[in-house]
Structure formats: structure tokens, C-alpha cells
Amino acid sequence: MSNKPQKTESNKGKAAKAQASSKTASNKGKSAQPRLHPTAQEPNFISEGMQRQVSAVSPEKKTKKQSAEDFREFIRSGRLELLIGCVLVAAILLLSLGSILYTPYDINFMDITSRMAPPSAHHLFGTDNMGRDIFSRAVTGGRFTLLVAVLTVLSSTLIGCVLGLFSGYAGGIIDEVIMRVIDAVSSFPGILIALIIVTVLDLGRFTIIIALCIMFVPSFTRIVRTGTLQYKDAVFVRSSKVFGASDLRLLLMHVFPNIFPLLLSSVIIGLSNAILAESGMSYLGLGIQPPTPSWGRMLYEAQSIIFKAPWYAIAPGLMIVFTIVGFNCIGEGIRKKYL
């Protein structure tokens, strides 16, 4: 409770006191002031409320409690997460995209003289067992990993949106069929699907994208379907229907925009999952094929020389961690801020 200055003009106070006692007196003829309550006898009884300053805003001197409250508000608003996430992701993106224009060394240039060199001024993150510069390979690998992740998430979001909107809005038998197929797909181990696709299809770099896409579609479909179910019976959708809007218009103009914040947050968290999945696949040798670098591929290669050159594992590992923390922070921030 703040200690506001209690401005009490004595004449008003007296009047108020008279009022107070007259009030009690008229109230069933008993004039006993409640003795229990010391403040009740304070002169500025009721009318004081009206003597306050015109402004409803309190003086701007912050108390400790208020700054604590403001800090909690800052945390709750999700701005902190958004900030951290954006900085991390921006840094990773800058490095990865920068690798198109410039890398300190060619990614496939092998310097036989300095194999497994520790981090130094020449090689920022050291070199690997073939004398290739790890920094150059890590930032270039980031480019491929991110490309795979973005393409995967975009395509699976697109498919998920169409399926989810359709399934949720149509309902009935169509909904049942779509959702049971989705259930079947998601009950199948992702790695197994990837293995099958990689062996059956040979599309080079893009095989992994198709495999990951199939793994990711079910979750997006479910998210969009749940949102559609929530909004399709909303009064504003109904009222738009009364205006004569077609089903497609209702879906695209009213249902989808309202699901969007939820979807955006899951898409961004989905990005980090895709990065992890790609790394996992590449680690198993199913993902991006050598000599193209990727973070997962690099981790796989680092495994055999982990004791001789631990820095080889640290560089892509850290990149993965930062990217995922960054994306998760953004996703969480969006969720807190808009949902």
C-alpha cells in the first residue's frame, strides 16, 4: 500500500465527521461509532474521496513493489524470450547466409599439414581429421541444415493446414478418414519412414525433406484441426455466414487468421524440431550426403575422433544448441504475447 499524502483540510474534515455521525445516528437511531475500528474516527470520512486530484494517475515515484510488479509483467509479456530468440537466430542466420559469399577457407580444401589442429587464430574452431577448416564447414553446414528445416516445415505446414482446415470444418466422415490416416502415419516410427523413403527414392538432397515432411504433417494437421473446431462455431463465423459468406471465405478470412498465432508459434518450434531431426538423420547417414557438410553429418564424423579432436564435435553441437534455443524462445515468446 502506498503512503499517499493525506491532505486533510480541517473544515472539510469537521463537516465529514458531522456527516459520519449523522449517518450513524439516522441509521436506526444509534450513534455508537464502531470503537473497534480506529480509522473510522479519522476526520476525513467519506467526502475525502472527492477531494483527490483530478488526475487518476499516481505520482511516478516507483516503489519497490511496483518495480517488482513491472518486472513480472515484462517476463509475462514474453518480450524477453522474443529478444533472446531473435538475437540468437539472427546471429546464426547471418553466419549461415554469409557463408554463401565468404568462408575463411574452401569447405573441401584439405590442409594435410594441419590435421586436427586445435582452435587458433588461423582456424577459429580448429580443423578436422582431414585438415578442413571446421568454422567454414559449420557455417556452410548451417546453411544446408536450415534450408532442409525451412523447406520441411513450410511444406508440412502447408499440407497440415489444408488437411486440418478441411477435416475440422467438414467434420463427419471426411474428418474421421483424414484423422485416422494421420493417426496411422504418426504411429509409424519416423526413422523407419525415412529409411524406406531414402532406399526407395533417390532424389539426392531432397529425399530427406520428403521424409521429414511426412513425419511433421500429423502434428500440424492436429493443431490446425483443433483450432478450426474451436472457431468454426464461433458467433462471428456464424454471423459472417448470415452475411452470405461461402465456406471457403469463412475458412480463409475468419477461421484461419484466428488460428494463425498458434500456428506461427508451433511452426517456429517445429523449425527447431526439424533441425534436430535433420541432424539425427544425417548422423545416421540418411540425411545430406558427403562431402556437403551439415551439422548432423559433422557430428557423425566427429564421433570417431572425439578424444583426439573434441573441438570438432563442439562447433556443430553449439550451433545446434543455439539455433534450437533461439527458435524455441521466439516460439514461446509469440505464444505468450498473442495467445
Partner: protein, 325 residues
């Protein structure tokens, strides 16, 4: 009717937003006497509900009491915490809310739910609690008590749920019951039943009730005394007969005139223009001045002091010349 059961003195409540504190309730004082039904009236956003919430210690985050006291049974309701607060809520003071669906636990059977306050506040054996809960169902006028006892909230209609809420609030025999818009979501016929039930509880058990509503007609039907609030301040208080029959403040007049009646057929209702200022807006010395047809230059400069215009009838308005001061 000797000492007040609850006496609220200069209660102020602030809402913190955008690093500023806005005053939502501004030094409001009133008394609740044993056995009376006190009505608090005003449009939404006038600070009625927030006043009630502060008495229950239920203010949400960012909202806090910035001054004043509320004495109840020798304690200050605004400062008690922890065990004392738990002892108070549901036991000595209870509250019923506007939306009876969301105020009941959907997974708990009615019978169990009604007994909850006793389970928390007494050492009565479970059997006794169940018996009392069953008895409460009869007391709130539910037919088929045995069936209701075993049903879940979603199986009941809105009016029945509100009866269950009242049974739950009253089972521990509280001295004070706060009813926050308990009939707003209900049909007029169900509303009439609930009002009758509250009046019966007040008559038979001497429970004091604070009845909050935006409808002066409803308040007039049940309350003995009425406080009219506007933008966090009191603008008029008095016996309900005086307030309804002879309102002094232009705001009260406007509220009464807004209720459609058959005599108004074919004419425009004399409604109050404009809307309640939000707490973040700055307002004039008399917050009602911008909407008031009788406002003078004085109204926007100096806050009106309290004037006595009849037995126990007070009004805060420059244009009322009662036996003031």
C-alpha cells in the same frame, strides 16, 4: 443493528498497467449492518466487482489495494493473509458469482461440492457434512434433492446451478454473503426465484448480503439500502425506497429512466449518453460531468462534497441542495 458488521473505510484500489497505477476504486467508504441487504449499483466498469473481490482477497495480478481498511469481526479484511484469510473465506464471508457454470468444479458431484466449505473449516465427520449438504439442497428450494445430490454441474440448468452456488456459500452459515451479479445471466423468472431465495436466507438466518448489480430494478426489489457507484466513486447512497422513488444524483436518475417500461412505449428511453470512462482515462473532478445534462463549470473543477438530502440519504453532486454539510 448496533455496530456495523463490515465497515469499509476509504478503500482505494489501483490497477497497474503500462508502468502506471490507475485508480479503479477511489476512497470508498460504507457500512454493512447485521441482517441487512446492501445493494451496490453501477454500470460495468464502475468498480463494483473489484470492490467485492478486494474484500475476499481475490484481486488478480496487477490489481492491488492502495489504501483504506475494511473491518470485519475485528480484523482488517484488506490486510489479512494466509491462514486467517482461509479461515475467513467460505466460512465467515462467502461469495457467489455471475456465471454459475464456471464457478463449479465440473468433475465434482453436487453433494460433495456443497460440503467443501465444511470440510475445509470444521472437523465434522464426513457423514455429518453429507447430511448437512443434503439439507442445504432442501433449504435452497431444490426438488428432487436426492437426485441433484448425485449429479454433476453440467446436468443442471443455470438457475439450479446458481441455487447450488448459494447452498455452497451458505452452508457454513457465514455472517456476510457477497453476491456479484448473481442473476444477470438468468431468465427473469429464474431471477425472481433466486432473489426470493436470497431474501429468505437473509430473513431466516440473519445473513447480511452485499448484492451487486447493474439493474436498479433488481436491487430495489431485494435491498434495504443502496450505494450507487460511478467510475470508482460513490455518487449516492441511501435507503432503496428513497433512491428509487426520489433519486437525487443525475446518474441515478439516468439509471432508473433507462429501464424500459410500458409507459415509455413510442418514445425514446431517456438513456444516459456516452459511456463509463475506462480506468486509464483521466476524468474530471466529477467523473460523471461529461455525461451529465446538468453539469456546470463547477463540476469539472471541484469535486462535490457529500450532502445529506434525507434520512440516511447522501449524494455527491453540486447541483443538489439538500441540507448539506
Amino acid at each position: 443493528m448496533a455496530e456495523p458488521l463490515l465497515s469499509v473505510r476509504r478503500l482505494s484500489i489501483g490497477i497497474r498497467s503500462n508502468k502506471k497505477t490507475y485508480t479503479a476504486v477511489d476512497k470508498v467508504s460504507f457500512d454493512v449492518y447485521p441482517g441487512e441487504i446492501l445493494g451496490i449499483v453501477g454500470e460495468s466498469g464502475c468498480g463494483k466487482s473489484i470492490t467485492a473481490m478486494s474484500l475476499m482477497g481475490l484481486l488478480g495480478s496487477g490489481v492491488s489495494v492502495t489504501g483504506g481498511n475494511a473491518f470485519f469481526e475485528g480484523r482488517d479484511l484488506l490486510s489479512i493473509k494466509g491462514k486467517e484469510r482461509l479461515h475467513m473465506n467460505g466460512n465467515r464471508i462467502s461469495m457467489i458469482y455471475q456465471e454459475p457454470m464456471t464457478s463449479l468444479n465440473p468433475l465434482m458431484k453436487i453433494g460433495r461440492q456443497i460440503g467443501e466449505p465444511l470440510r475445509l473449516h470444521t472437523d465434522l465427520p464426513e457423514k455429518e457434512i453429507r447430511a448437512r449438504a443434503r439439507e442445504m439442497l432442501d433449504r435452497v428450494g431444490m426438488r428432487d434433492g436426492d437426485k441433484i445430490f448425485k449429479s454433476y454441474p453440467h446436468q443442471l440448468s443455470g438457475g439450479m446451478r446458481q441455487r447450488v452456488m448459494i447452498a455452497m456459500a451458505a452452508i457454513a452459515n457465514p455472517a456476510l454473503l457477497i453476491a456479484d451479479e448473481p442473476t444477470t445471466a438468468l431468465d427473469v423468472t429464474t431471477q425472481a426465484e433466486i432473489l426470493e431465495l436470497l431474501r429468505k436466507m437473509n430473513r431466516d438466518h440473519g445473513t447480511s448480503i452485499i448484492f451487486i448489480s447493474h439493474d436498479l430494478g433488481v436491487v430495489g426489489r431485494i435491498c434495504s439500502r443502496v450505494l450507487v457507484m460511478y467510475a470508482g466513486r460513490l455518487v449516492e447512497s441511501g435507503p432503496s425506497a428513497a433512491i428509487l422513488g426520489d433519486p437525487e444524483h443525475p446518474y441515478t436518475e439516468g439509471l432508473i429512466a433507462s429501464i424500459p417500461e410500458v409507459e415509455d412505449r413510442g418514445e425514446d428511453l431517456p438513456s444516459i449518453p456516452g459511456r463509463v470512462p475506462s480506468v486509464t482515462e483521466e476524468h474530471a473532478a466529477c467523473p460523471f460531468a461529461p455525461r451529465c445534462g446538468k453539469a456546470t463549470a463547477l463540476c469539472s473543477k471541484i469535486p462535490a462534497s457529500m450532502r445529506n438530502v434525507g434520512p440516511d440519504h447522501f449524494v455527491w453532486c453540486h447541483n443538489v441542495h439538500g441540507g448539506s454539510r
